[in-house]
Each structure stands twice: as structure tokens, then as C-alpha cells.
Amino acid sequence: MPVYDQSYKHWEGSFKSHTFRWWVITKYGIKTAFKKKAVKVLFMLAIVPFIAFAVYIYGLTHLGKVAGFVSELGGDTPLAGMGGKTYEVEVEGDPAAFLQGLSKEALPDPGQGPTYKITLPDEENSNLILAIADETGTKIARMVPPGVRETFYSRFLNVEARYLFLLLLVIGAGLIAKDVKFNALQIYLAKPITGLDYVVGKLGVLLFFLVMVTMVPGIILFLFQAILIGDSLYFRHYWWVPAAICGYSLLIVFSGSLVILALSSFSRNVRNAAAGGAAVFWFTPMVANILRYSTHNDSYMLVSLRDNWTSVGNRIFSMERSFDVPWGWSLLILLTLIVLCAGALARRVRGVEVVK
């Protein structure tokens, strides 16, 4: 019997599933990133717009209370007389009968029809309007709840995108470049993980931070607004907004992360990778704008990563185009970019760099 059979003792335990092995890389990356002062500062700064937008929502929903508070202090405020919840209601049938059913305080300007702005007291909700419509034999064709609209969330995400760029550079630029510099890739890939596990692990680090400053606060703002209004109509009317927040956030987070990871994989120097990222995120919009204004051709905006995001984002949030190019082109460019970056990563993430 060979020596091997006689003495070698194998590890008898079972191994953890391969599926989540990338998490080891993500966990270590998150831990390391949090050790950086710049990341902590940026992360805190990214919370400021969230707080500001939340305060805005609170103020808007409590206009009456704010006005009352100001008057109690003896001040004069343009908010005086405001307050309550204003619904935008489109009435079908006999609007006059419907309007008669409303209380004096809620009565809108009858000349507005067929879409009326009806302000109800804070304790009431859309059920009252539906009940009145029922009683008067009219039908509500459309009813828009009070509170912020979809554009608000789109604006919030665009503000957060500024911090997203900075976080991408500070965290993302070194993620692969440092491994290349320290030859850590060779060790990583000598373990039972694939190149894909490695890339997913690194991507996970960026997704964690970027989702925390885009998607998560966006959804929290939506829920905050819905709770403050206290009307399920908000959920029913804007049911698609959380999906839009998630979709738009993931689009910018995913494409931005892949771009910076691909750049990081091409360099051993973190600064070079960061400079490349800065060029893509800030220089391309500048170039696009210069070309656009000098040639009066909106197509040049397709050169800019940021403007392609905005173009697709406007479509996702059902907003008007910000420049005269179909959003589908922007989406196609973003998808192409994602494929190219993924291809570059597949080529570059190797245990041994082959120099021909």
C-alpha cells in the first residue's frame, strides 16, 4: 500500500456552499473601506441630502401645523391658511352634484373642472372623496394623492449620484488595482473560487456602499411620505415608484461600479484608476456639453455616462426628456458599456498576468 493511503488524513468535515463564497471578499472589502477616513466622511455627507429631503417631506405634509406654529409665535407667514391634504380629482358625470357634497372648507374653485384640487382636513383621506362620489352618483376617473411626486425621488437620486461618483472613486479605484499590485490575485485564484466569484465579491463591496446612498434612502423617503400622508391611495397611485427607485439606483450603481472595476483591473496604481474614473464621470459630460452647444446637436450627449443615466432615469420616472435623443439609445449605450466592462474584467482577472 502506498504511503499516501497509510498515513494521509483528509479533512473530514464538509465545506460551505460555493454559492456565497464571494461574500468573503465582499465582507473583507467593506471592512477595509470603512477603515478609510474619506469613506466615512463621504458616507456621512451622503446622508445630508437624505435628511434635507426628509425634512422637506415632513414640512410639506405638515404645512398647516407649521403655519400654526409660526402664528403662535406671533409671526406672519405666507403659509397661513394652508394645510390639510390636497387631492387632485378628475370627476366623471355631474361635477356640480359632486361639489355640492363637499364641505365648505373643501370646496374648490368650480371653474377648475373637470379636475379639481380638493383640500381635506389632515384627519380625512381619499375615502371621503370616494364616499361623496358614491352618494352623488358621480365617478372619480382619476385621483392624485397629496405629497411629493415621482420627480422628487428622481431629483433625490440625482443629488445622491454626486456622492456616488466620489464613493466609486475612493472605494472602487483600488479594489482590483491593489490586488494586482500586491499579486493577491494569484493567491485568491489559487483557492476554490472562480474569477466570477472574485468579481462578484468586489462588485458586492461597491453595491453595498452605493445602494446605501441611493436605493435604501430613496425607499425610506417613499415610505416616510406614504406614512405621513396616512392614505393608502399614495401606495396605490405610486406603486411603481419604489420599483423605479430600485431600477434607476441599480442601473447607475451597477454600471458605475463595473466601469470603475474595469478601470481598476487595468492598473497597478490606484491613482491612475481613480483618474480614469474621474475622466469618465466628469470629463465625458463636459465634452458632451461642449460638443452639444457648439454643434447644436443633442446626439453628443450620448458620449456622457452621466447624461445617459439621466436620460434613462427620466424614462423610468416618466419624466420629460432632458435632451432630444431617444432614451433607448442611452440604454443601449449603458448596456454595451456593461458588456464591455464585464468582458474586460473576464480578461484581466487572472491569477497570472501573461505578457506577450
Binding site: 483528509h10 494569484q186 489559487a190 476554490p192
Partner: protein, 321 residues
């Protein structure tokens, strides 16, 4: 892809290469290598650029063969990360984050190998003990000496309990004590039945670990088998010995009388002697007595041929004949 929990069959040859070639553009890395490596320690000898690292990278699946095939326990390692479950690799270059401490690094590597957090902690501690780095476990890797980093690299290659271990120049940068304990450790792995492949360009390092060697040069295998057979081949070839002493002329007169000495030449400033001998064993056993009886003080004694370069040179010349 096989399951990582699948047991390794000992009946399959640990490492097998058939007509294996790798070229980088027009540069040949290794050329039509066919070999089979079994349990125990095998020394991979060759000068820098011989193709040792390329061969190890091909075995690890980190390079794709240009031609031929390589198998680890019957499995193709290329794009098959599951084979890494039972293979440990210690590359020749520094390969870690200097910001991590030794224990953290090992635990991370073990988690990547599929061990639970608890098991990873246990195994990392055990591996640190084996390579004698327990006291430095909490120190940042950046503060490690070259020898300590080498030992840590070795620890990560054995921590997950592989039965095939590939070590690329594992003794580089180690102090004599470190070398000794690493050599002992490698021998122990071999005795335990693991398949250990150690690459080096220093013959005596390999000799201290194993008798089985594979000699490579210019991407080809020049010889394989028992180190003593290679040594014997070398002994048929005149060996150079360089002696610097206080009485070089006197010593040369004494040496030229010996049958095994082929030639004696004076080096610069008449202080050094370059001697060629066809029986180095006889020569070296006689030398101390000769020096003592004639009260010759020796400043230095080197054997420029007693290195792997000489073996390669000889083997290359043999092949040409």
C-alpha cells in the same frame, strides 16, 4: 465541475503532464513536457527562466496550456477551481495585503476555501503554529520580514489541508533557521504521503528535502529521477574548486601530485587557486589533512561548480553530444 465535498481518489496520479507546452507569443515557456509526479517530495530544479514557475502555474490551472494536457488527480485544472480544494500553492512572489495581519490573512484564505468561520480560526492558528508565526500572528504583514512573509505564504498553502502542495522557491529570503525548519516541514509532508513539488535553482536546498528531482532548462526536462544519479553524472565531469590561502604556490605543488587533480591554475594576485578535480569526494576528504599538515591558512574555499548551474551546463552538453 466536481463537488468540493467529493473525496479525492488516491488511486489517481497526483500530477500528470503529457506533451505539455506553453508559449507566450513567440517565446516558449515550456516545451512538450511529459512527466508524472507521485506522492512524496519532488524537487523541480532549474535556473531562472527554465520554466519552473510556468509549469507550476499550468498545474495550478492559472495558465492555459498551449498544447498537451495536465491533470491533477485525473482532472483538468484549467478553469476548474474545485481542484484547488486539495491543492496548496505557494507562489514565488509576495502575494498579500500588507494591511492585514497574519492571522486575518490566513482566516480569509480559509474562508475562501470553504471553511466555516470557526473552522477557519482553528486551522489558521494551527497553520501559524506549524510555520512558527504564532507570536507575529497579530502583526501587520507589512511589518513582516521577507522570511516571515515566506513562512506565511507557506502557511496559506497548507492551512486548508491539501494533499498536493506546490511550492515555488519557498526558501527565498529565509534565514538559516527558517530554512532548516521549512526543509524539515517539507520533508514531513512528503513522509505523510502528500505530493509536494518544490521548485528551486539551488541544488543543495533540494537535496536536503528529497532525492527525487526533475531538472529543467529552457522549458525542457533535462533529467528526472534520483538526485544521486545526477550527482554521479556530475562527478564524471571535472569539478572546479577555488581556494584562497596564504601559501598558494606551495599548495599548488602539493595538489598537482594528486591523481584526481586534472589542473591547477593561479587566480588574480597569485592568492587564489582554481583546481579541477575528477573525484571531488576524494579531493574534499583529503584536503583538510593536507592543509593542516602543511600549516596552510585558508581564507576561502568555494566550489563554483557545486551548484545547479553546473549540472545544467553538464546536462545540456550531454544532450548536445
Amino acid at each position: 465541475m466536481i463537488s468540493e465535498n467529493a473525496k479525492v481518489s488516491p488511486s489517481e496520479t497526483p500530477i500528470e503532464a503529457v506533451e505539455l507546452s506553453k508559449w507566450y507569443g513567440e517565446v516558449i515557456g515550456i516545451n512538450k513536457i511529459t512527466l508524472s509526479i507521485g506522492p512524496g517530495v519532488t524537487g523541480l530544479l532549474g535556473p531562472n527562466g527554465a520554466g519552473k514557475t510556468t509549469l507550476l502555474n499550468l498545474i495550478m490551472g492559472q495558465l492555459k496550456p498551449s498544447q498537451g494536457q495536465v491533470r491533477i488527480r485525473g482532472r483538468n485544472p484549467w478553469a476548474n477551481s474545485s481542484v484547488h480544494r486539495f491543492v496548496g500553492y505557494c507562489p514565488d512572489v509576495d502575494s498579500f495585503y500588507r494591511g492585514m495581519n497574519g492571522a486575518e490573512f490566513l482566516r480569509t484564505m480559509l474562508r475562501l476555501s470553504g471553511f466555516s468561520s470557526k473552522a477557519a480560526r482553528k486551522r489558521a492558528d494551527a497553520a501559524l503554529e506549524i510555520v512558527d508565526l504564532v507570536e507575529q500572528a497579530k502583526k501587520k504583514i507589512g511589518a513582516y520580514s521577507k522570511g516571515m512573509r515566506q513562512r506565511l505564504k507557506l502557511a496559506q498553502s497548507i492551512a486548508h489541508d491539501p494533499d498536493i502542495i506546490l511550492l515555488d522557491e519557498p526558501l527565498g529570503g529565509m534565514d538559516p533557521l527558517g530554512r532548516k525548519s521549512t526543509i524539515d516541514l517539507i520533508r514531513r509532508f512528503g513522509d505523510e504521503g502528500k505530493t509536494v513539488v518544490v521548485s528551486s535553482h539551488i541544488l543543495h536546498e533540494i537535496e536536503a528535502m528529497t532525492n527525487t528531482i526533475v531538472v529543467m532548462n529552457n522549458g525542457k526536462i533535462l533529467a528526472e529521477g534520483n538526485v544521486h544519479e545526477v550527482r554521479e553524472l556530475l562527478d564524471q565531469y571535472p569539478r572546479k574548486v577555488c581556494i584562497t590561502c596564504d601559501k598558494p604556490r606551495y599548495l599548488s605543488a602539493k595538489l598537482i601530485e594528486c591523481e584526481d587533480v586534472v589542473s591547477v591554475r593561479f587566480e588574480e594576485k597569485d592568492e587564489g587557486l582554481l583546481i579541477e578535480t575528477i573525484k571531488p569526494d576524494v579531493f574534499f576528504s583529503r584536503l583538510p589533512e593536507l592543509l593542516l599538515s602543511n600549516k596552510i591558512e585558508v581564507e576561502s574555499l568555494t566550489s563554483p561548480d557545486d551548484n545547479v548551474e553546473a549540472v545544467f551546463k553538464y546536462l545540456v552538453e550531454e544532450k548536445r553530444r
